[in-house]
Amino acid sequence: MKIELRDPNVIMKLSRLGSFHQSKLSFLRSFLKEFKDWDYKRDLFNLNQSGFGEAVYSFKKENRVYSLVCFANEIKDEERSDRVIATKWDAAFTLHDGVPSKNDIQRLKNEVPKQEVGRLSFKELTLSRANKSIRVFNHVVENLSEGKQPDLDLLSKVGYLYRTTAVYGSGKFGLADRFRIKNRKEINGPFRLEMMLVYLVRQFTFDQVNHIAYYKNPKNAVKLDEKICKNLGIGNSTGLGMAPFIVNHPTLLNNWILSREIALKKIREIKNVKDTDYKLFIECIKRSITNITSWNSDSEYQKIKIKSLLSDVQKFLYYIENEFYSKTEYAFNKIYLWLEDQTCEECIEYIVSIMMEPYSTITDPLVRNMSSDEDKYFNIPTNRTVKELRTIIENKYPNILDINFEDKENYQNFWFISKNKEEPRMADRFKEHGSELEQPLAIARDIKKLYEKLLISKNSLSIAKFLFDNSELRHVVRRAFVVEKFPYSEIQDNTIGKKIVPIDMLRLKLSFFGALKFDPRSDKWLRICMFQGAPLPNELKNYDEQWVYKTNI
């Protein structure tokens, strides 16, 4: 049986993209798989009794070494902010390419804590900073120093000791450009070095908390239980900065979503599902319930989503156990069709992610296709005609063409870059100043403008000539030709309308990172948790691939 890929006009809607969950394709999981046989080492741990100083952690294989250089700093409570406007953080990190020399560490000590206003070199690959979750960190230090393990209830409410507030790579602030490293086999997957940084930062947080507790009370202090460590991840606060990324990298976005869609299609096409595979799938769903019940959020928007997810997953389990015959042919296709018919978007995408668990043979080759050589698709095929471009738009953007951009509600917002920190922001164009400096992220509106121009242009006119008089639409002409080849490259929704929920854009990207427990703090920023339940570095050589469904707190 041949199953069609799902329709981009359904999948690429923001509400659906904002319902995506981590899966075997997620970058943090593919990172662990790639680096599991690398040698992990803590090379330097030079902290004072209060936990301030430097540390270096590394992954090594043959002649290649990646080193995380950490700087833990003392800051005042009033200086601690997750916002990008902050200038000080509890700790700052960079991933160095190779073994850093003393001079490198000295250089980095001057630059890394400054983050955006510091300068890195081509020898550094990623850059980040993190703040303590004060209530959890202090609680853990207190308890460990008194010889006790911390309160698991408190830990489960937060899930981490530190949260990062930005992770930079690909040439930012002088970091190495992607082209310098893109041919390395081990990083043939998006954001792999960002994932490495976050993973090693997680280990640093455990080492630091143990270190401080020990010096607080050397006689009685105990170490944080490794089982508890394993159930703690690393948090992240994410704002709008992430949203334009998925608009600005259309072929990359396509390759992420297409990989997921191909995996689903192949799984639905399996005629006879093996018993062991089916059992693993059901086991993962059952065990994953803890991830839903421990998913805390104060956001009403998210609470409703979590509630309907839990109720639909329970409904699904009832269906599976009471009404579904697992040995039926094309079992996963039948399950998928039932989900589409009976459950919410959040649940559909949740189960779709878990369907991949038994099928490394399907997902592993797809992981290798999730990067993109974007420059290859940059040039506009200007020898094509107006008629051809119009047909592409009619076929690829049918719902976008239905939006009425005369209606104020449909263009109420605009995206801009703040002068302060050069970060993307969104505002109401009728209330705030600055819309004349709008960023080119209103793709739906501009595609519609382009379409209207094409309607009154001669069919046989070449795109080269069309652009003589329509230079202002060049950016969307380029996109339309990209979407012709890459069906999942475009968000099929209005990104400037009154009803936009920007965190849907963030959530899409974060789900591919492998984040859990999305916790919106407003419609424009959210907190997440990464690597919760993941093996510790000393367990990497032999770990349970389904760790994500086996957290205990």
Binding site: L175, R178, N383, P440, S471, E472, R474
Partner: protein, 203 residues
């Protein structure tokens, strides 16, 4: 050192700020990144051009023909570059294309380099007395690469180089004969067995 990513992002934003559309700004950014990647002074020249653009008028040439003589002002290298890139598939039919007075020809050059990749042909460009060969956007070679690029190219001539070998048959055969010394002469038994198939397929 600034990364190429920083160069591209900043060049795009600056181009937009000076008045180019977002789409054209993306083209400029890509071209400046390319020049810097090749070790050519892209940032320096685009800066100077933007400064000049504030006080001087440059002519926008959209439709490129065989001979492009300016009416009054020098040609804008960006509009000229984007037009050339957009029209290169039809322009390659012309043997030679001439331009009179192009401002900041190095900026124009970056678009020509990209055009060379689009059509899969080398492009030879003469800017006054200086000669430059653009190799499929992989490299740029020139007899004045270390000298200061002129602010204006008074006479620019562009030639599309047909894809052909730049060595003689004799030179090729000589090299090929030498390479044959790595081959093994096939005996009858090797002919029979080494390919893993029989000599006839009359089945």
């Amino acid at each position: 050192m600034r990364s190429l990513s920083e160069i591209e992002t900043t060049a795009k934003r600056a181009s937009r700020a000076i008045g180019f559309s977002w789409g054209v700004s993306e083209e400029i950014a890509k071209s400046i990144r390319l020049l810097e990647l090749f070790g050519l002074p892209g940032i320096k020249n685009i800066n100077q051009y933007f400064e000049d653009k504030k006080v001087k008028k440059f002519e926008n040439l959209n439709l490129i023909t065989e001979k492009n003589l300016l009416s009054s002002d020098a040609f804008c290298p960006v509009t000229l570059g984007v037009s050339f890139l957009d029209q290169v598939r039809s322009l390659e039919k012309l043997k030679k294309i001439q331009f009179a007075n192009v401002a900041y020809p190095i900026i124009f050059l970056s678009f020509l380099s990209r055009a060379s990749e689009v059509i899969g042909k080398k492009i030879f460009i003469t800017i006054d007395d200086n000669k430059i060969l653009l190799n499929f956007n992989v490299s740029i070679s020139s007899n004045f690469i270390n000298e200061k690029f002129p602010k204006f190219g008074k006479n620019i001539e562009i030639e599309f180089i047909e894809n052909q070998d730049n060595f003689t048959d004799y030179e090729w055969k000589n090299l090929y004969n030498l390479s044959e010394n790595t081959f093994v002469e096939e005996s009858d038994s090797l002919k029979q067995g080494a390919a893993g198939a029989g000599l006839t397929d009359n089945d």
